[in-house]
Symmetry: C2
Subunit: 252 residues, 2 copies
């Protein structure tokens, strides 16, 4: 038995999220269905660094699975891509140690969020950016964003119904910059709660719009309540950018 | 009665082309259906600068229609976009003269074609670029492309079943350049035959791959036969970039 790690990109537009569900088209479902073919009907379970929601994209999702097949590791992307739909691509495969775990071994994850700030909507980016028509005070958003750096209880930035108990996470990097007519938000941390990036982005957009002040962030964190933060930004602007491991640098 | 010109962008992915057809989702069909709503059930015919095929995109398609409604011209984009699907956007509207005709008044049209040259397919550009894995001699392609400049009989670069009689067209500009991992092809002329740009691109790719020499272009033109040219490149790499008129510069 060997454990294989895969770096996977997908366009989340036509998926009901990453996680397998009956009667829904999911990324995990597609991956497992192709692996089952390759393993002659044997079910193979795929484990990801984390699930992504409906419409959320990935440039560097990491998954692992165990196999008794022994062909060279660089054949895996070719074998899988030849059967996968065009909106999922396996970019890399690696032999990983038997104790490697896509979720538990992850050191940090980076997410990005794209906001389109042009006056006109763009048909070609409608599924990859969140279009915001109001003017944004980017400097205020940056002042707000840096307050998220470090270790905090992120209860205010987590869906209220989340079941996880420990809501303390560490944000190692946060940045916000203009790229043409887009505003790109990047956040890297040791883990993210459910909807955390989207609630952070939604809150920063309210700060950028002048509905809240940049100085409010400390208060929102201290409140430890979902009601204290802003709206959840839509999923289609979000992309799982990369996942980093000690054992494997494929997420870069 | 007033004639209105519209500059329209669309993502061709989910359309069976521009031209209206029964039981198919088309750009013209969507535009006419929304115009019918706005005109309280009265059918409004929309005329475009030209049709585009299944999967072909437009950044600056121009259409016109006649209306008895008299609201300010800058309200048209807002009124139409509020009812159009997200993969069609009206970017501009203009009052045009009664004798303006989206097709017959067009002076020149520019098409672009995007070829993705990276080793890996890109899930986010799969519908907007043609992915080519073999190495391309761009310099040879450029030498070939400039031979298309000027006025020629383009019968060799036209689908054999095309019904038009006069196959003489003038190419005013042709260019080919790298943009990141893409190769962009641009062609501007006074008119294009059916599949002409896609057959030109397909032929240039065969030259870039070394299957044909750059010097063959004159011979292909002289043959006046579809068999002399290369394969038709896929529609999804093609985009109608702009249309220019004396009366209206909206196509820019």
């Amino acid at each position: 038995m060997k454990r294989i790690g895969l770096k996977v990109a997908y366009d989340g537009t036509d998926f009901a999220g990453y996680q397998i569900q009956p009667n829904e088209r999911t990324v995990q479902g597609e991956l497992e269905s192709v692996l089952k073919n390759i393993h002659k009907g044997m079910s193979i379970r795929v484990t990801a660094s984390g699930r992504t929601d409906t419409g959320v994209h990935a440039r560097g999702q990491i998954v692992h699975f165990d196999t008794s097949l022994s062909f060279p590791v660089d054949r895996w992307p070719i074998a899988l891509n030849s059967q996968l739909p065009a909106d999922i691509r396996v970019l890399e495969a690696a032999d990983v140690p038997a104790d490697f775990h896509a979720r538990y071994s992850a050191k940090t994850k980076e997410y990005r969020y794209r906001v389109l700030t042009s006056a006109q909507a763009d048909v070609f980016r409608r599924n990859y950016t969140y279009h915001v028509r109001y003017p944004l005070d980017v400097e205020a958003m940056q002042r707000a964003a840096v307050q998220l750096l470090g270790t905090h209880d992120f209860s205010s930035f987590c869906t209220a119904k989340a079941e996880v108990e420990d809501k303390v996470r560490t944000i190692e990097d946060v940045a916000l910059w203009r790229e043409g007519d887009e505003l790109i938000f990047s956040i890297r941390g040791n883990g993210f709660l459910y909807n955390m990036v989207r609630i952070i982005v939604g809150t920063l957009l309210e700060i950028g719009a002048g509905k809240r002040s940049a100085e409010e962030v400390a208060k929102i964190l201290a409140a430890r309540s979902r009601e204290a933060a802003g709206k959840t930004a839509p999923g289609h602007g979000l992309i799982l950018w990369s996942v980093e491991y000690d054992e494997w640098q494929a997420g870069k």
